[in-house]
């Protein structure tokens, strides 16, 4: 295992967020950003303002907005690293944006 450090000797600027070329898995994860996804099974979340809970179901489509396992040139350890945005219809409030973090096993990609 090789520790990947961002420093000038390896050609990486520590202030940049460009991923190490040789990390294929990271590349694959970053490439999922922009994909449309749906959860494989229902998932309840509790962080939507003014709603006690919201259930995400497999018929709802979200979009991966970000992969947060690699941040500002550094590896970090989120257990749900994919930030997925949904729009849900809430009575009297119209379409409300909902962002939820998922792990790879929880969703399937339905379109690139």
């Amino acid at each position: 295992e090789v520790a990947l450090k961002s420093d000038s000797s390896t050609g990486f600027d520590s202030s940049s967020s460009s991923p190490p070329e040789e990390d294929e898995e990271l590349k694959k994860n970053l490439e999922k950003v922009g994909c449309k996804v749906k959860v494989k099974s229902p998932l309840k979340v509790y962080h939507v303002p003014k709603l006690p809970e919201v259930e995400l179901t497999p018929d709802m489509v979200g979009v991966i907005k970000q992969y947060v396992g690699f941040w500002k040139g550094k590896y970090i350890s989120p257990n749900y690293p994919f930030k997925v945005e949904y729009r849900i219809d809430v009575p009297d409030r119209g379409s409300v944006k909902l962002v939820v973090h998922l792990k790879e096993e929880e969703f399937e990609i339905i379109a690139e």
């Binding site: 979340v45 509790y46 962080h47 947060v68 350890s77 989120p78 973090h101």
Partner: protein, 113 residues
Amino acid sequence: ADPSDKSMEVMRKFSEQFCRKSDTYFCVDKSVTAVVIKGLADHRDTLGAPLCPCRHYDDKEAEAKQGFWNCPCVPMRERKECHCMLFLTPDNDFAGKEQTITLDEIREVTSNM
């Protein structure tokens, strides 16, 4: 070194408030609660953020700045999942009935650590 009194009090208060807000309870064994609060206070002092004390990190500074594991962490905020057992939903076998803890309780448990 022990965490500062200020951070201990900030994290104690935060824990009580978040319990009420999220409708969760402290562990029936309050020493669990005390140890986690002390760990959070320590990270608040050393990292500037209450990074979860119950996990291993390769790069604590980066984790604290990014924020995923800053208490209340993303899994707790979104799903009410707290693997530290600081905030337990009522259906959890280890959930107690309390949402308060005093500084004395924390000190008593953690004084020999």
